[in-house]
Amino acid sequence: MKIDTYGIISDIIDKEIDILLPLKVGELRSLLESNFPKLSQFNYSLVIDNEIISDEMKLIEHSNSIAIMPPFSGG
């Protein structure tokens, strides 16, 4: 599955990976971090089908798009 990225995370995600759903948000994070170890150094939220999901326990049953979004700090 292709993973969309924003900001500095775009430098880390360099390949597509297989994601088998259903997964809880927390489990999806672990899967992503095991494929992209540098990700664990960053703060980020997951955007599933254009919705930002911050609840780690939420179950994702199916999804058309997954994006990794870090906070920006510049102004």
């Binding site: 924003y6 900001g7 500095i8 150094q41 960053f42 703060n43 939220s45 955007v47 254009n50 919705e51 930002i52 999901i53 911050s54 609840d55 979004m69 870090p70 906070p71 920006f72 700090s73 510049g74 102004g75």
Partner: protein, 355 residues
């Protein structure tokens, strides 16, 4: 009213709507890349009272995006210079200038004077502080942040179904994992674009025209001209602050730009006459020349972290080194532990005594 004729003739606008702008009070925190377009458009549009908060001074590297500032303004305070220029754009506006940074001690006194807050800052400590204060006081917060050619924008704490920055990113990010404009670079045009959208959101909130960008986060990429509005979902595990004291006692980490420069020996001497003030030389013990002009404690930077508790009783802490670089590190170390103390760095280091 001739000044506002072009907006008054807009559909659903009219003189009553212009009057709403005139009776509004908007605080812009940060007079930099984002803050400048916000300030210019809101001043031009006729907001009644505009607060400008920024303790920073103008540097030549700011001019690439902070287009209200000119070469002759370098070295002066951003809020003060912005006020001088904006006042001649629209003398009908009442400006309130805060030429210092907002922190935990002063935030409530300032924010309580306004109806809407616009976050144009560049560090997470202040962003989360403004978020939490606006949530407690139920004031709309027009948030935007930038990374290189990209931006994020949303309106928090607005309307009957308000959202929070913490619904998106529950905890304050560790600042060294997220680069700011200084470290990552930024294109001037994106700050102009996004600041203009922030100003537009303020006008929509006040006038009740259109749909305010609440409950969604606008993601902009100016390299590919994409704009995407993603839905924010409420984070049910958040426990909101219910009292001022909770916010005042919360650890917001280091307000990294929250320190002041000392430029002259007279300024330093005056500061050291205050109770609870101390000058600390963070150079190594053998470095020359020694400080003899004023009383000074030697704590080399290498041992500062282990001796920080010695500074507990001081409220005004001045750091001195050879050129200012180690002082900046000392400030970061001290603010991690004592976020609310007022900290100073001697701008040109030890040369302050060469007169």
């Amino acid at each position: 009213m001739n000044r506002y004729a072009r907006q008054i003739i807009l559909p659903n606008f009219g003189p009553q709507t212009q009057q709403k702008l005139k009776t509004s009070k908007v605080l812009i925190v940060g007079a930099g890349g984002l803050g400048i377009p916000v300030l210019q458009y809101l001043t031009a549009a006729g907001i009644g009272v505009i607060g400008i908060a920024d303790g920073d001074t103008i540097d030549i590297s700011n001019l690439q995006r902070q287009v209200l500032f000119y070469e002759q303004d370098i070295g002066y305070n951003k809020a003060t210079v912005a006020y001088n220029k904006l006042h001649s754009l629209n003398s009908e506006i009442e400006f309130v200038v805060y030429d210092y940074n907002i922190n935990q001690q002063n935030v409530f006194d300032i924010v309580e004077c306004f109806d809407i807050v616009v976050d144009c800052t560049d560090n997470f400590s202040i962003r989360y502080l403004l978020n939490d204060v606006c949530e407690l006081l139920t004031k709309p917060l027009v948030f935007a942040s930038i990374f290189q050619f990209e931006a994020q924008l949303s309106v928090f704490h607005y309307g009957v179904n308000p959202y929070s920055l913490r619904d998106i990113f529950p905890n304050i990010p560790i600042s060294n994992s997220v680069p700011n404009c200084t470290e990552a670079g930024v294109i001037g045009t994106i700050t102009g674009l996004i600041g203009s959208i922030q100003a537009n959101e303020v006008i929509k909130i006040i006038t009740n025209i259109g749909t305010v960008n609440s409950g969604t986060l606008l993601l902009v990429n100016s390299l590919y001209n994409t704009m995407q509005n993603v839905t924010i979902s409420k984070n049910s595990s958040l426990i909101p602050f219910t009292t001022k004291d909770q916010i005042l006692n919360y650890n917001y980490g280091s307000f990294c730009s929250h320190y002041q420069y000392i430029y002259s020996l007279n300024e330093l001497k005056e500061l050291l006459t205050m109770d609870n003030s101390i000058l600390i030389d963070v150079r190594e013990l053998e470095e020359l020349p020694k400080v003899i002009e004023v009383s000074c404690k030697q704590i080399p930077l290498s041992i500062l972290p282990s001796t920080l508790q010695d500074l507990k009783s001081y409220n005004h802490i001045v750091f001195l080194c050879k050129s200012g670089v180690r002082s900046k590190k000392a400030i970061d170390i001290t603010q991690e532990v004592f976020p609310s103390k007022t900290i100073y760095s001697i701008k040109d280091g030890i040369t302050i005594f060469e007169e």
